[in-house]
Amino acid sequence: MTEKSKRQIAAETKERLVIEDNYIPLVHDDKYILEVNALKKYFPIKDGLLQRVTGHIKAVDGISFKIERGTTMGLVGESGCGKTTAGRTILRLTEKSAGQVLFNGKEVYDYTKKELQAIRPQMQIIFQDPFSSLSPRLPIREIIGEAVREHEIVPRNEFNDYINDIMENCGLQPYHRDRYPHEFSGGQRQRICIARALALNPDFVVCDEPVSALDVSVQAQIINLLMDLQDKFKLTYLFISHDLSVVEHISDTIGVMYLGDLVEFGRKEDIFRMPLHPYTKALFSAIPVPDPTAKINRILIEGSMPSPANPPKGCKFHTRCQSCMEMCKTVVPVQKEIEPGHYVVCHLYNDYEGA
């Protein structure tokens, strides 16, 4: 190997730091409330005295999916694969690096700050940790009603009734209004979070692992509550979770993420019937079955997830894949539609000419 000159290294580094923003613009279809196209979110790694950008953590590395109105999309994947970042980037709580997010056919990132603030009530988020997501110094009515007042969702004289209604809908008692977050249990706090999101009368809610911090009995209550509310208010959910059984229960479509990539995406039934991607297969084999006699053929994934700052070349999963081929190590796979609405990103299905 010949030694690279300094200039060459610099040029390569520069090239590496460029975030590619190539995508085929989407044509909006009105049945989708949210269309995500090649969305990327890179966090810069700064180093040295001058805090120069020396690299990127590729938290979300070009994901594309669509959510129909009134349905729930489950987004699964192991810790650190970029699910939460994806959710927050879609809501523009962190700025995107590249790609397209269409909400009701409009690019979320085209709004000015003022317009964005006006559109915020339509897309809400429920956080994972019900303890840190409530300001400890405000009573519940303020936490729920603050933004209602700000956006003038209801007339001033109906405000109290409206808050009471929302609280009741979310399974809280109206006399909880004047209490402070520290006086509630985890499940109640999560209900408060849900009430805060729903009070703004949203169309679309990102549920960022809303039940992971709760114990199992409360999880079921919250999931059922979310489903009831979906029926009642015609909500669309992006349900982020690492718990496949919860996702199976609530979702209409499922996306599987691995290291910033959406490796498989499709209707719930299709995916559970026929998982295609080796990672999805491994994940689904880990779902516990409530039958002690049942024999499960577990697929074990060895090693740990590579660093998103320096992901493997080719297919990102090839370092841990059981059906890894030579090709996987060099060529980046592309998304393929195996059956209608069922997409996979894997070289195994390169020859498949279906749909």
Binding site: A118, S133, S135, P136, R137, E146, G171, Y175, L200
Partner: protein, 595 residues
């Protein structure tokens, strides 16, 4: 979960149907406490914190209401009368000539000393500052000084007398008189009521016209009233008469000066002059060698008093001798007289106004007075006001700077944060005490008004104290900013101002209160140190620090404990109180502390 079922229960509640009394109804069971109330509850359960609060409250009442109730002012100096033996007058034998000048003339001081030299050397002519004077000796220690003007030069050449006149207005009769005098060998002669002096030179005579200027005598004239002053004519007549009487041994004589008839009585070296009016005589003046003068400029010592003193002196004074003088109003006044070499000192007991310095505690001054005669209790109260006020204002200013800069750094982050934090680092590396000492010395040199100086002091202390608070606020906001409830405020589309003031600030305030309370004690201490060193609050304003400053005098430190111990105690109590409260608040704000 069955939602329908749950809703039914609510319906019943709302319709006001009786609820089962055994039901654990949250509404009845749990008392709702806001976080603020919880903190308050935890705070008042903390005995130490309550002690601190009582200390501070007491100090406040003491300083503000006390100062308001005290009848004395902050810088009121108290005085008292003390009987003190003080010098009233001094008597000495006169050895210096007194010059009694004629009307409208002046005998300069330099010429006076030239006169003394000339009279000692028996010269009858002297010059001073280009003016010629001549002296005529009337008797021992009695001279007349004349202004002298050269009028003619008389030269005798081969028996012929030749007169050269300086003043052409002089007539031929004057030349005749002059030649006559030269021939007779007279030293002085009179012409037209004017005195002339002839001085023999080597080949000629010089003639001078003499104009009386002053009478030089060792005698002193004591008149019955301070309004009368001695005139040349009067003195001339009296001196001559006295001299003649002493020579002849007569006792008395009548003298008329300026149409007024006087009678003089002589006794040894003294003379009394009486004013005669239709046969009655009243004492008018005394003449003697003794000078009796009060050390007070405006006091006129009566002639009786002088007589009495002179009589005692002639009897001889040994040691300290008491005497009583009955004044004009018939009141007795006590004096002492003491001989001191050639002088006699007369003392009297006088009620003297003195400052009540270091007066021990009494009914009037419960804690005594300090070195300036000011009431210590009053000064403690006013000093407390200033110390507490400076503490509060400094903390308010530094908290404001701290919140603004720390908040900006924390909220905006990036290079703003970097810049502000480097400024904070710079401020933290400044040695604050030397800086304050230097600024204090500079203000001393500039003679800054004490009131303005106090304001400067506050700003300087605040300016040096804000970095700690800024750093704390910044750290707090940095951590709060990443909390999910802050992201939720963004997601719900709240305005930036609401996010800052409703969510960020209330969550920083607990730590802010704690750090401010703790730094209050620190500021009060720093202020005391500076005032103690004389660089902080300056007289006439009191501060606990500058009250303690009295200990820099070892005598005060060891003998007058009541001056500085109370101020030290006040500082101790206040700082302790603030620290107790700060600790109590910190515990109360910390939810992990279960008290």
């Amino acid at each position: 979960m069955n939602r329908k079922n749950k809703n039914n229960i609510h319906m019943e509640d709302r319709q006001g149907k009786p609820v089962d009394s055994m039901a654990l109804d949250d509404e009845k069971r749990i008392k709702i406490l806001s976080p603020g109330l919880l903190v308050f509850k935890r705070f008042i359960r903390n005995k130490l914190a309550i002690t601190g609060a009582i200390f501070i409250l007491a100090m406040f009442i003491f300083s503000y209401f006390g100062g308001w109730l005290m009848p004395y002012r902050e810088d009121e100096v108290f005085t008292k009368y003390v009987d003190m033996s003080k010098v009233y007058a001094a008597v000495s034998e006169n050895t210096e000539y007194k010059f009694i000048t004629t009307d409208n003339t002046e005998f300069p001081m330099i010429a006076r000393s030239q006169f003394v030299l000339a009279s000692n050397n028996d010269r009858n002519l002297f010059e001073s500052q280009g003016v010629s004077y001549s002296i005529e000796k009337l008797a021992d220690e009695l001279f007349v000084v004349f202004n002298t003007r050269e009028v003619a030069v008389v030269s005798i050449i081969l028996g012929n007398t030749n007169v050269a006149l300086s003043d052409p207005s002089m007539g031929p009769s004057f030349i005749e008189r002059l030649e006559e005098a030269v021939d007779a060998g007279e030293e002085t002669f009179t012409y037209n009521d004017k005195k002339y002096l002839l001085v023999q030179g080597k080949k000629n005579y010089l003639a001078y016209e003499l104009e009386p200027l002053a009478l030089a005598t060792l005698n002193r004239y004591d008149f019955i009233s301070a309004d009368i002053s001695v005139s040349y004519d009067f003195a001339f007549a009296m001196e001559l008469a006295m001299h003649e009487l002493m020579e002849t041994g007569e006792k008395s004589r009548l003298i008329t000066v300026g149409g007024v008839e006087y009678e003089m009585e002589v006794e040894e070296e003294k003379a009394s002059i009486y004013l005669r009016n239709n046969g009655d005589r009243t004492l008018y003046a005394n003449i003697s060698r003794y000078l009796v003068e009060s050390i007070y400029q405006d006091v006129f010592i009566s002639i009786d008093f002088k007589d009495q003193v002179k009589a005692m002196m002639s009897e001889g004074v040994e040691g300290v001798q008491d005497f009583v003088y009955v004044n004009i109003d018939g009141e007795e006044e006590e004096y002492t007289i003491e001989r001191n070499n050639t002088e006699w000192v007369i003392r009297w007991i006088e009620d003297t106004l003195v400052i009540k310095a270091y007066d021990p505690p009494s009914k009037e001054h419960i804690m005594g007075t300090d070195g300036n005669g000011m009431d210590i209790l009053t000064r403690l109260m006013y000093g407390g006001r200033i110390s507490l006020m400076i503490g509060f204002i400094v903390v308010v200013i530094e908290t404001m700077i701290g919140i603004i800069l720390g908040g900006i750094a924390g909220y905006f982050g990036k290079w703003v944060d970097n810049l502000i934090m480097r400024i904070v680092d710079t401020f933290n590396s400044i040695p604050s005490l030397p800086i304050i000492i230097i600024i204090g010395a500079m203000m001393d040199a500039q003679r800054v008004d004490p009131k303005i100086r106090m304001i400067y002091l506050m700003f300087i202390l605040a300016f040096l104290g804000w970095p700690g608070i800024a750093r704390m606020v910044r750290g707090q906001i940095l951590s709060l900013r990443e909390q999910e409830f802050m992201i939720a405020t963004e997601a719900t589309g709240l305005s930036v101002s609401k996010r800052i003031f409703k969510h960020l600030v209330p969550n920083v305030i607990p730590q802010l209160i704690v750090i401010s309370t703790l730094s209050l004690g620190g500021v009060i201490l720093t202020e005391s140190v500076l005032s103690f060193l004389g660089l902080g609050v300056k007289f006439p304003f009191a501060s606990w620090g500058n009250i303690i400053n009295a200990v820099s005098n070892v005598h005060v430190m060891t003998n007058y404990l009541f001056v500085w111990i109370p101020a030290g105690f006040c500082i101790l109590i206040t700082v302790l109180g603030f620290n107790f409260i700060g600790d109590g608040l910190r515990d109360a704000f910390d939810p992990k502390m279960k008290r």
